[in-house]
């Protein structure tokens, strides 16, 4: 199973490092990373494999959100299925 992590906020040094480190801490394997600018804010999207998580998915969601709050970013982790169902038939 995979999850999509979106990171939005002001661009600063070390965002990818922080988010990647937290993923590694919880056993989430990063598959893909892309950056984009949506309207006026910076957005980074990561696709991660969550099969080997060492915490529950729910706790992983909380942990990533907490990292975002501490770093002045919005980090949202969503199960990839919501994107699949909405955009594929």
């Amino acid at each position: 199973m995979k999850a999509v992590i979106t990171v939005t906020g002001k661009d600063t040094v070390g965002i990818i490092a922080k988010v990647s480190a937290k993923c590694a801490e919880h056993g989430a394997n990063i598959i893909d990373i892309s950056q984009s600018v949506l309207r006026d804010y910076f957005a980074m999207i990561m696709l991660v494999d969550i099969d080997e998580l060492n915490v529950s998915f729910s706790d992983f969601v909380d942990s990533m959100a907490a990292l975002g709050r501490d770093s002045g970013l919005v980090i949202q982790t969503m199960h990839e299925e919501i994107f699949q169902v909405m955009h594929t038939i």
Partner: protein
């Protein structure tokens, strides 16, 4: 494989355009709670609901968190209470309503629906006892919703039941006069009521349903309005296509949430209700969709055509996205719960007559409309008879949820707070239908050939 644009579109829909799942509703059969002992009946009902739906709220919250989609309400609907139990007095029924309320409080859900009766052809003594206590039940509970089906296309209209509705609504308004007559916001009168509707106040668990079932109501007027805005001045075929595609995406999320809730709760999946349900929040309005289509304000001539197009396209897009579609499925036009409708009534652009016409082409009916507190009972019955006739003649669901706000006159407004919103008091035709309503009996079922 996912692409960035799709991911950003979904996130933008949720964060900026108010896409949400309006409700996960668990329907629970209470038919096996039947007993002649009123006290034991209340205990059995409380126990069954709190056991069956024990994990409803936590499951909803977990799905919300893991998929990143807000789920606004968690609700329970039950078998119409007039069908449950033995011979009960009005006071016994009031105790059942309180037991439902306690169960809802224990579960932490937002509403519980089903304190009602199906009286489209006639009323049993039990039905009459239940109807007589509805105002007190609405006033003395917080979370209990009530609905009564007074007509079907096959049975015609039970005008004896319609004649009772005026006094029920007026008394509920009086008993809850300190809270803007909010009791009436929890009561709805139906024609052709669907048995699997997850939306309140009309949700109940139909007699043809199984032991328990999970249904989901989607929302998303803001998403549709934004898509139309981005498309600019396209023609009607293109407009319908845009709405269909958007409705498809919204409904797919609803379907996913419904399946996931069903799996986690180990309760069968019922239906997805693909309604566009507005909230008073800016950017979550059905009226604004109609205005985005090119109407100066909702209520302008052309509103009914715009709404018909919207309603049809939502259904066409949604039907393919879900394996089972049901409930009310269409566009809702509740006045107090829709920022654009509120503005349109306040400015005088939208009248009750226009709202009635709009209900002929969309789901539900005259919904969350605040009328003067001194409106006579017969006039309320007349409003109901008109609206119910539209449903019966057109083989569709219609309903009436009006609030004769105690002590309020045209020009004043009432604030219910939360999702129920606020609304100005709307002007009514003051001529009396009293002699017409007083005739009693049934209006015969309509013929469905010789269509004109």
């Amino acid at each position: 494989m996912l692409n960035t644009a799709d991911i950003l579109e979904t996130i933008s829909m949720i964060r900026e355009e108010n896409l949400d799942i309006r409700t996960i509703t668990m329907g629970i059969s209470l038919l096996d709670c039947a007993t002649d002992d009123p006290k034991r009946l209340c205990d059995k009902i409380y126990d069954k609901i709190t056991k069956k739906a024990e994990k409803l709220v936590v499951t909803g919250e977990n799905i919300e968190k893991e998929y990143g989609i807000p789920i606004i309400n968690k609700r329970v609907s039950v078998t119409p209470i007039s069908l449950v139990g033995g011979e009960l007095s009005p006071e016994d029924y009031l105790n059942v309503a309180k037991a439902l309320d306690r169960a809802a409080e224990t579960l932490g859900i937002n509403f519980i629906g089903g304190f009602g009766a199906l009286v489209h052809k006639g009323m049993t003594r039990k039905d009459e006892n239940l109807l007589s206590i509805i105002p007190e039940a609405l006033a003395e509970t917080n979370l209990v919703c009530s609905s009564v089906n007074v007509a079907t296309t096959k049975a015609g209209i039970n005008m004896d039941a319609v004649a009772k509705m005026g006094s029920i609504i007026k008394r509920a308004a009086y008993l809850t006069r300190d809270q803007g007559s909010i009791g009436c916001a929890k009561f709805v009168v139906f024609a052709n009521v669907p048995e699997d509707n997850p939306f309140m106040a009309g949700a109940f668990h139909g007699v043809g349903e199984g032991e328990a079932v999970v249904s989901v109501g989607v929302s998303g007027p803001g998403v549709v309005a934004s898509a139309i805005k981005r498309a600019g001045d396209c023609n009607f075929s293109e407009l319908a296509d845009i709405i269909k595609k958007t409705a498809f995406k919204i409904t797919r999320v609803g379907q996913m949430v419904a399946y996931e809730a069903s799996r986690r709760l180990d309760v069968p999946f019922g239906i997805v209700d693909l309604s566009l349900a507005p909230t008073p929040a800016i950017g979550d309005s059905v009226a604004h969709i109609l205005e985005e289509m090119g109407l100066e304000q909702c209520g302008a001539h052309g509103t009914t055509a715009a709404l018909a197009l919207l309603n049809d396209a939502v259904k066409k897009g949604g039907v393919m996205a879900s394996s089972h579609v049901g409930g009310l499925s269409g566009a809702f036009i509740p006045v107090s719960e829709d920022a654009g409708m509120i503005d349109a009534v306040a400015s005088g652009s939208l009248s009750i007559e226009k709202l009635e016409a709009m209900t002929a082409v969309c789901s539900v009916g005259l919904d969350m409309i605040v009328i003067p507190g001194d409106t006579p009972e017969a006039v309320i019955c007349g409003i109901i008879a008109d609206e119910i006739s539209i449903g019966v003649a057109n083989t569709k669901t219609t309903a009436v949820r009006v609030i004769p706000a105690y002590g309020k006159k045209v020009g004043e407004s009432v604030n219910f707070g939360g999702l129920l919103g606020h609304a100005p008091v709307i002007k009514l035709n003051e001529c009396s239908p009293e002699r017409f309503i007083a005739r009693g009996g049934r209006i015969p079922a309509p013929i469905h050939s010789l269509k004109n």
